[in-house]
Symmetry: C2
Subunit: 347 residues, 2 copies
DNA sequence: TTGTATGCGTTATCAT
DNA sequence: ATGATAACGCATACAA
């Protein structure tokens, strides 16, 4: 536990020049060995390599990027890392961008506009080759920055008529209508919606829910919390619902986490699913199919959205800025019916 | 949907010089307005501010970092973003570092050493002010790089006798022994362990499990999968377990996700918890207390570990490199008993 | 195949 | 209070 090994640490990081000196060559040669080894003679290549290794040389990306005007970096802003939705999306981005030689810089806005704007500013400061942001509700300031960034900008997860640049997502409103119609078709008539309005997409779905209910002459029943979505929150919201409206026959949750928590709470209270209440979630996270009862959910193509986003970005970057024909790409959604909405046929 | 707004985009990003020109001042003044506004006259301050805003100026962090030798960046490597464990930890880091003016650069190693080494190299290229890495099993190459980095390095989540620099975590082995003893004390004697050995911490816990079982003259029963932990995997592992060993009376899962999936599978198969099988997880993720039955788990202080890590790093950075007295900090763990291990008293 | 000169956008230092 | 100048570490263009 002595401090010796620490006090002897180098104060100055080793640079190209240091390696060059040790190898007895010029700095450019070292740079070449790292970037274009085939252009350097075998002898020097090895000498430089060992020198670099001896000194534990790590290239300074900042200097490199500054000099080359190439950061090989993609900026990404998501509102949450806890929510499984964004993990799948990020996973896809990783899988396409890393092999292509790009690095992901991911910042978390925690569902607040101010944080998002700050995150965008921070990322732009790193001069990414492209920006990928979640949703379409950026602040005017953020929009301005993105428009001036001079790099491809992709808004993902939902759709808008007025994209900053490229827009890849799905219609949250259509998904909301579809979910509600699905429950109606299965004979549910007293339907409640549980949600957490921190998520802008969830708000769009709620609006679709309310609109659809009203248009059918029914009273929209929404239980919301300003906390972010989570399993415990689902249990809480269901408890609140049942106390106020014990007569509901279906619950649509704005996220699968809420649905899972609500399901637990039903179990705890002896409410049978789907016999007493039908249940439906959103996003189709992996646990939906494995829960008991399995949860009906609206599957969103998160992974595919990520792949598509990455491919389009790469095409633009490599193809000298050529945008795709369509600036607005609808990836759609799909309802996966499972036991939580399969009531036994009426006798 | 025209391309006009795109084709008119600036090809060159606006720089300090551009802003200076527009404001009719020198570049240095602009720089000062941004960093030390109090040293600049009111008039110029405003003129520069509007010029910067008009041009949508975003400072180039790379150039800034290069010139000042200060990146205000903390490098972090975690093996997974899907696993709730790391979210809580990252959350804590965010909460302490962001207000302190630092930015987090988080890379995901996806549970593989090669990725981790690459991630560490990448992060070091950004010249972070400190490095935080998960676990204590870095490759020799990674260790070397970290030792030469000249910045504080914190290894988190588990403990080692041979830390690179600072080590903050808990004894996974002790936690493993404790979990097993806990089940034994409650009368379980045919205990199985479900795990995903991709996680090095999980492997340590398994070793503790096996050792404890053998030392009691019992046969260690382990069902593992090389896939990363997930809810569906828990269901699969339980199915495999029951088919081979229908007589188990307790299951300890190496992660709460596995426990949740296993619990669903029990439900599906009509196995009662805890009457037929007692269940125990690890980490005490938020859904444990809300599940039905609620899941007994080993609570790990993830958030506190993050806070402690950040505080120590800040102290070192600000206190001219002074390390804390103890380079190895044990944050402990705690078993939270819930219904999944509360068998009814024998009559 | 290797080296020299120049510049990337910013900050630090020193003048004014 | 403001400006001129020299770094920072590397990559590009060009020369040898």
């Amino acid at each position: 536990m002595t401090d010796k090994d620490i006090s002897t640490r180098p104060r100055r990081r080793t640079t190209l020049g240091d390696v060059a000196q040790r190898a007895g060559v010029s700095a450019v040669t070292v740079s070449r060995v790292l970037r274009e080894p085939h252009l350097v003679s075998e002898t020097l290549r090895e000498r430089v390599a060992t020198a670099a290794s001896d000194l534990g040389y790590v290239p300074n990306r900042l200097a490199s990027a500054l000099a080359s005007a190439q950061t090989n970096t993609i900026g990404v802003v998501v509102p949450s890392l806890t929510n499984g939705v964004f993990n799948d999306f990020l996973s896809a981005l990783h899988n396409v961008f890393l092999p292509a030689g790009f690095q992901l810089l991911v910042l978390n806005s925690r569902y607040t506009d101010a944080n998002e704007e700050k995150a965008i500013a921070t990322l732009l400061g790193h001069h990414p080759e492209a920006m990928i942001v979640t949703g379409v509700d950026q602040t005017p300031g953020a929009r301005r920055m993105l428009q001036h960034a001079g790099v491809p900008v992709v808004q993902v997860m939902e759709l808008t008529d007025r994209p900053i640049d490229i827009n890849i997502g799905l219609s949250q409103v259509e998904a909301g209508h579809a979910a509600l119609r699905f429950l109606m078709e299965r004979g549910c008539c007293r339907i409640a919606h549980l949600m957490a309005p921190l998520d802008a997409r969830a708000v769009r779905r709620r609006e679709a829910f309310e609109q659809e209910m009203v248009s059918r002459g029914m009273e929209p029943l929404v239980i919301a919390s300003t906390r972010p979505t989570s399993v415990p929150l689902g249990a809480e919201l269901l408890a609140a619902l049942i106390e106020r409206h014990p007569d509901v026959d279906a619950v649509w949750c704005s996220s699968d986490n809420l649905a899972l928590g609500a399901l637990f709470e039903c179990d705890r209270r002896g409410i049978r699913v789907p016999e007493d209440i039908s249940f439906m979630g959103f996003n189709d996270l992996e646990f939906c199919s494995i829960a008991h009862p399995a949860i009906t959910s609206v599957a969103t193509p998160r992974y595919e959205m990520g792949e598509r986003t990455a491919e389009i970005v790469l095409e633009i970057i490599r193809g000298s800025g050529k945008r795709p024909e369509e600036r607005r790409i609808d990836m759609g959604f799909e309802i996966r019916e499972r036991d939580s909405t399969r009531k036994a046929p009426r006798p």
